[in-house]
Amino acid sequence: MSKPTPLLPESDAREAALFFVVAALCFLAVLATLTARGTYTAAQAWSAQVEGEMTVRLSDTDRRGADEAASLIRGLDGVTRADVLSHEEMERLLEPSFGPGGIPAGVPLPLLIAVETTPDSVTTAASVTNTLTSAGYTAVAESHSDYAAEARRALGTLRVAAIGVVVLLTATAIAVIAFATHAALLARKDIVDVLHLAGAEDRFIAQLFERRFWTLGLKAGAAGSVFALAVTALIVFSAQSAGAQSQLLPQLSLDFWDFVILVVTPIAAGLAARTAAGGTVNHALKAVL
């Protein structure tokens, strides 16, 4: 004989609606997490790269003076490179401002020295400025990591916001599922009553609903996560193929943690659904003799 018909009838329209809501919530949660994580990773890579880079701006001197200043810097502790930017390099740097025609004659240009130090170097922007000033130059050195620190602060805020969004979405999902289970329970009160009066224990009846909603949560969560992954990939791919400078765009390199998020989300959705269903059913049963 074939498998017995489930005691709880197969899903109806109400469950399709719930499936959609849970999938959508999981989609948003995974999208928020993946984007925040991607942005964070990219920003960390960027700030690690600019760590140890600085630019020295000289005024009141000529190219020869700049070369002498550069060799002075090269003599400092931990400095791996100090080069005066050539006219071509300056033109490339300023092309966005002046266009491909080059820098018009007569525009006063500062002389710039690009400096790189080892990451643990004691030579800071301040010490470079001091050295040059005492040697009689009018110079200002700026460390690129100063910008990175600001970016990192902004990213910290972003991370807190992302966690908040995920928590909010999870709570919403649980509330929606509890509500939906309650509705399903009322709709199938005939079944619950008959089972109850036939001597079924609360555990038995609760399990029927728990199993149903666990599966629903799991499937909806998986659908939402996979869709979120696809959308994230699409965003990154289209941004990259548009040739944008992708350093600060979310980097989607499916690493271990992204994988964990994709696996954990459906399980969390399933567990949330299961717990909400079990709680609702038990609560309803306690109200009858």
Binding site: P4, T5, P9, I191, G199, E201, D202
Partner: protein
Amino acid sequence: MNRFRPDMTGEPAVELNGVSLRYDTADEVLSDLDIRLKPGSFTFLTGASGAGKSSLLKLLYLAHAPTHGEVRLFGLQTSALKRRQLSALRRRIGVVFQDFRLLDHLTAFENVALPLRVLGQKESDYRDEVVDLLRWVGLGERMHALPRSLSGGEQQRLAIARALINKPDLLIADEPTGNVDPEMGQRIFRLFVELNRRVGTTVIIATHDLALIREFDAPVLRLQHGLIVRDVEHQPA
């Protein structure tokens, strides 16, 4: 005092002491009832529509707790039982509901097997038993039909089969001939009598079918406005 105490020895199967029932804030539906039913007894419960028959039966099959008084089943005081013990007690009671309460997505076979699935039994274990019972109530050919495709009388007999599959110690039937013609009504009553005589099941049947009551030799509890007004003794034909 409304007291009905047949001669008896041993623990009553059903015992109500000073039982009253009130739904929400409405008037009392049952007032200060004292009832004792011996194990193996066969009792009719009668009274006009709205007299409280179904309400009294609900107390007996543990769907509702009384507002006052105590309900004892097989010597157990039900208000003192834990939820699991109540579930276990319900398994000793077979109920034929006035509105059947068949599950519309399950076949006739599966509806009858329901109380056994609740116990965690496998189909291979109960299959023959269920088939035999369905044949006994005359539904051997309709095993795979859904309830909505059955006639009123067939649904009634299906509900009876489901109430009996557990071999209950107490069978409670609420107007079990309400939806069938007199001939089928007689067949159903004979089924209950057979069960009572052969297996010793305690049977209580709510009905207002006086013709049928007259035909079967059993004591009658008459309810009127929530009171037991009389124990109609069997009139010899």
